[in-house]
């Protein structure tokens, strides 16, 4: 009995890649990871802690990292506040929610239809177009902010709802991951459906979409992060205050670095930062196993 117990932690099966259980040789990895995990988590714990701090703790000297008397005051303050131009904070949040939902849905539709064509259809430009998309993986949007501004201006998209959505929809990484994942679906499945007389749209909707759920979850997360965290679009392309996003509102809170505004705003800014961060975290936790199974198809050959 004792021997078996001992073997559980020293057995060969528990060594090396992807072990089944604990092994003494893993201790060194835990020792390495634990301090690092603490370092990675500190700033995030700090958001949680600050968001619930009452004012006297926010400006206490010496500063204290953890909250002692947690309160929701920062959150109630945040939502009773108006921006300097008279738009209530809930309006920014509402915009962000709507924009993010539409962007995620549209991005799934746009990328998955294109991935279906590139993965399962035969046509002349297929290889070329996929190669172009692969090159575009290294596209750095921030580098072409200015020509993008000119394009958006020409299309009369400035200061509209759609300027939040459209420019981000063509996401090369998203298409790439979806296409690679779709390649793992055997062609026989589709041929069988064709013999049964299914149309392309039916195949896409009834067969492909249910089979690529993990990849869809992954690009949903990527689009979610991009859209939800986007403050730049509001700053560069939108003038109407009531069309701007929550992320943008948060950035106006943090740019006030000096004076009374900075002092008053710190707790509110922390509360807003927590509201920004939490949805990202929750969605990733819910979908992480899907993301990992998509990532195993992510190789770039």
């Amino acid at each position: 009995m004792r021997r078996n117990w001992f073997r559980r932690f020293t057995g060969v099966r528990n060594r090396g890649i992807n072990p089944q259980g604990f092994h003494v040789s893993q201790l060194k990895f835990y020792l390495l990871l634990l301090p690092l995990a603490v370092f990675m988590l500190l700033p995030i714990v700090f958001i949680f802690s600050s968001a619930f701090k009452p004012p006297d703790e926010l400006y206490a000297y010496p500063p204290r990292f953890f909250v002692v008397n947690p309160t929701f005051k920062n959150f109630t303050d945040l939502f009773s506040k108006m921006s300097s131009s008279g738009v209530p904070v809930s309006r920014y949040l509402f915009n962000s929610v709507v924009i993010t939902l539409v962007a995620v849905a549209a991005s799934i539709l746009v990328s998955s239809t294109a991935a279906y064509a590139l993965s399962k259809k035969r046509f002349k430009l297929k290889q070329t177009l996929f190669a172009v998309n692969t090159v575009a993986l290294m596209f750095v949007p921030i580098a072409v902010t200015i020509p993008r501004f000119l394009v958006i201006e020409r299309l009369n998209l400035l200061d509209t709802f759609w300027v939040h959505i459209l420019p981000g929809l063509a996401m090369p990484v998203g298409l790439f991951l979806l296409k690679q994942f779709m390649d793992s679906i055997p062609n026989e499945v589709i041929e069988a459906a064709q013999i049964d007389g299914a149309s392309d749209v039916q195949i896409y909707w009834r067969i492909i979409l249910p089979m690529i759920r993990p990849a869809i979850a992954t690009i949903a997360i990527l689009t979610f992060q991009a859209a939800w965290n986007n403050a730049e679009t509001s700053a560069l392309y939108v003038n109407t205050e009531s069309l701007k996003t929550f992320a943008f509102y948060l950035s106006t809170l943090t740019t006030a670095t000096t004076g009374a505004n900075a002092v008053a705003g710190q707790g509110i800014a922390a509360a807003a930062a927590l509201i920004m961060f939490l949805p990202n975290l929750i969605i990733f936790i819910l979908l992480q196993s899907q993301v990992m199974s998509t990532m195993s198809h992510s190789g770039l050959k």
């Binding site: 090396g16 890649i17 992807n18 072990p19 089944q20 893993q26 990895f29 990871l33 370092f39 990675m40 988590l41 700033p43 958001i47 000297y61 010496p62 500063p63 746009v110 294109a114 064509a117 590139l118 259809k121 046509f123 297929k126 993986l137 290294m138 750095v140 921030i142 580098a143 072409v144 902010t145 200015i146 020509p147 000119l150 394009v151 299309l155 459209l166 420019p167 929809l169 063509a170 990484v173 992060q225 939800w228 403050a231 560069l236 943008f248 948060l250 809170l253 943090t254 670095t257 922390a270 807003a272 920004m276 961060f277 990202n280 990992m292 199974s293 990532m295 992510s298 190789g299 770039l300």
Partner: protein
């Protein structure tokens, strides 16, 4: 009903493929291809957004190399320093951490992966709140208070306004949030490797874990390594706004944290010299292209 004309035939066979592609292709063309081409074309012009762009040949590029003192003295060295540490550094760190995580059973592995990945979920604007408090320049700042308690510094330091520290803080903050999608891809890649390869290697005399990494792990997951590399390169250059976010001003204090991305914004949106800004954009895109080519050479799969 059988199709009649050849167009209908084409439509039936190939048309749907193009139909499925059309939405993505259109958006890709409008928001990626056109801006890149426009940047390229504008880089040969003088353009102040009011008058029509005037062709001036290579003048912008020549000015960039010979006259732009700020670019040569601060922006280029800063960008190279930042990119070399954050790019390969963050990439190596991501691989090593992924490898370490792969040595753990599933539940602790998932937990640690989540913790390491979570910083990359945060947005720049949300984290600005945190960095500004942690690195605050007065004695209420956490870092100052901590160091003063230990007696390491006597006076509070203006971390984010000081040219001596801004770059270091930018690098730490960016590395902190660099365990992103490339890291997850490499973790998945390591876990996918057939365990029999390791057994075979052990029989062939591969004994240490380091040998295992170099002879088995990396060669078996080159595609994921390449994907991770591309993501690291893009992430590095994309992270360029961090200096402005932290210091709250563009240009950053004494140009200490000025990266090429900030230089583009400085000329494009603050001085309205769009043609010149476009030339700088093209240089940035070429830098990304160069580094991606380089990693292609390192990790190309032999066919």
């Amino acid at each position: 009903m059988p199709p009649k004309t050849s167009f209908q035939k084409w439509l039936r066979r190939k048309g749907s493929a193009y139909g499925f592609l059309s939405m993505y292709a259109l958006l890709f063309f409008v928001f990626i291809v056109v801006p890149v081409l426009a940047a390229f074309l504008l880089s040969f012009t003088f353009f102040d957004t009011i008058q029509f762009p005037r062709f001036i040949g290579l003048h912008n590029y020549i000015a960039l190399i010979t006259q732009d003192d700020t670019f040569m003295r601060y922006v280029l060295p800063n960008t190279i320093q930042f990119a070399v540490i954050v790019g390969p550094g963050g990439y190596a760190l991501a691989f090593l951490l992924a490898w370490v995580l792969a040595q753990l059973p599933r539940i602790p592995r998932t937990l640690f992966a989540l913790i390491l990945y979570s910083p990359s979920m945060t947005s720049g604007v949300a984290m600005a709140v945190v960095w500004k408090t942690l690195f605050s320049g007065d004695q209420i700042g956490y870092l100052n208070s901590f160091l003063m308690n230990l007696g390491i510094v006597q006076e509070p330091i203006q971390w984010l306004q000081s040219p001596d520290y801004l770059m270091t803080i930018m690098i730490v903050v960016t590395l902190w949030s660099s365990m992103g999608i490339g890291f997850l891809a490499m973790l998945a890649g390591i876990l996918e490797i057939n365990p029999e390869l390791y057994e075979a290697a052990a029989l062939d005399g591969v004994s240490s874990r380091w040998q295992e990494i170099f002879y088995i792990t990396i060669p078996s997951m080159k595609p994921q390594m390449l994907f991770g590399a591309v993501m690291a390169i893009v992430g590095t250059f994309q992270a360029g706004a961090i200096g402005v976010t932290l210091s709250g001003s563009n240009p950053t204090p004494q140009y200490a944290g000025q990266l090429i991305v900030n230089h583009i914004e400085d000329y494009g949106f603050l001085r309205y010299e769009m043609g010149y800004a476009a030339a700088v954009s093209v240089v940035l895109l070429l830098m990304v292209l160069f580094f991606t080519r380089l990693s292609n050479h390192l990790f190309a799969s032999e066919e």
